[in-house]
Symmetry: C2
Subunit: 222 residues, 2 copies
């Protein structure tokens, strides 16, 4: 049985930058499920029309098609119950929802403000540029050039947003304690997007956060 | 055996406003441990000198004296293992550390900026006023009157800081899921401080957050 993940790519098909796709790549690794990725660009709407919507990640698991990272994670948890749990027991799962809300409403917007121009000018597939500019400028109510002008402020805000996460990692190996769980995958996805998309160094090699990221990858032999 | 908690009070000894003391009052209730409180003011340093430091909460549990809310919570968890767990299993405990870091580094500073003048002008014991003004103005690098001048901005920042917490509560009864745990106690302490200290209504009676606060209290018959 073939397992395929449609995964957002840049002009270089090896540049994979979606935080939501990263969550699922780590979730699949966590459950020891082999898969192949299909490089996908924002404008490849017809390539995933079979999923009934227009965004990635899309997982094709044999006969089953699941879109939306949270739905995919829940699908994996229910359908592969014999593998390591992504969420842990019910209280851990509930606590993970706060981490998810923080990542999506605080951390990821802080990252987006920094990397949006880098992605547009340096990483994006040429055919995606018009779509990306139009959709992002409408969503944010500012131009891509406006983000460039404010970069210094946005870099400071990104660092400030990390404060509670840094405190957490100062006292434990992973967000979920001794080993990573989906809470780690969520934050990793955001920071992998930050690190790989930015034209400047957002996290230095000796940063505790980079150490944690390497620890997450090493857990899964990645 | 008598169990005593030294608990920060205002001019009115029934006004108990420390977020850290609230954590412990809920933790004691969670473990079904009866206790009495001793109203304590910032300048009553000699009254808790026996604890070897100068801040509350201080718990006197028979022969044992424990200061610092985190140490008290850990003491209760270890010494009353047959009662309901405060932290849950190790992953839940680790995830709770992120909630704690967020509460202490994001939420509580946002609340402090709003309620600091209210506490000073309306709630504080007269004998604490000089200490409070001096220590807070030094810590923040601004005068109490500066906080008053910026209140509108600080109210907006407080509401913005709540965003990931509101999202979490939209989908579940408590931070820890079906019933409250120490993660809930931490956030409750911060918001109880906010609600009871402010001279204006920070959270309306029909706010989902107030509903959750009432749910926490009701769980313990408070």
């Amino acid at each position: 049985m073939k397992r395929l993940l449609y995964d957002l790519a840049g002009e270089d098909e090896n540049f994979r930058f979606s935080p939501y796709c990263w969550r699922i790549k780590l979730a699949l690794a966590h459950k020891n499920l082999p898969y192949e990725t299909v490089a996908w660009r924002f404008t490849d709407k017809e390539a995933i029309a079979f999923s009934g919507q227009g965004k990635v990640p899309v997982l094709v698991d044999g006969e089953k098609v699941v879109a939306d990272s949270q739905k995919i994670a829940e699908y994996l948890e229910v359908n592969y119950p014999n593998e390591a749990s992504l969420f842990g027991d019910p209280p851990s799962r509930a606590l993970t929802q706060f981490i998810r809300a923080w990542a999506e409403q605080v951390l990821q917007p802080a990252i987006a403000r920094v990397v949006l121009p880098d992605i547009f000018f340096q990483r994006l597939a040429g055919k995606d540029k018009a779509y990306f500019r139009e959709s992002r400028e409408r969503a944010w109510g500012m131009t891509i050039e406006d983000f460039v002008a404010k970069r210094a402020d946005y870099l400071a805000a990104f660092e400030a947003a990390l404060t509670p996460f840094r405190t957490t990692l100062a006292a434990q190996n992973f967000v979920a304690g001794a080993s990573p769980s989906y809470a780690d995958h969520i934050v990793f996805g955001a920071l992998q997007w930050a690190r790989t998309s930015s034209g400047t160094v957002l996290l230095k090699d000796d940063d505790r956060i980079v150490d944690w990221m390497n620890g997450v990858l090493a857990t899964y032999g990645l």
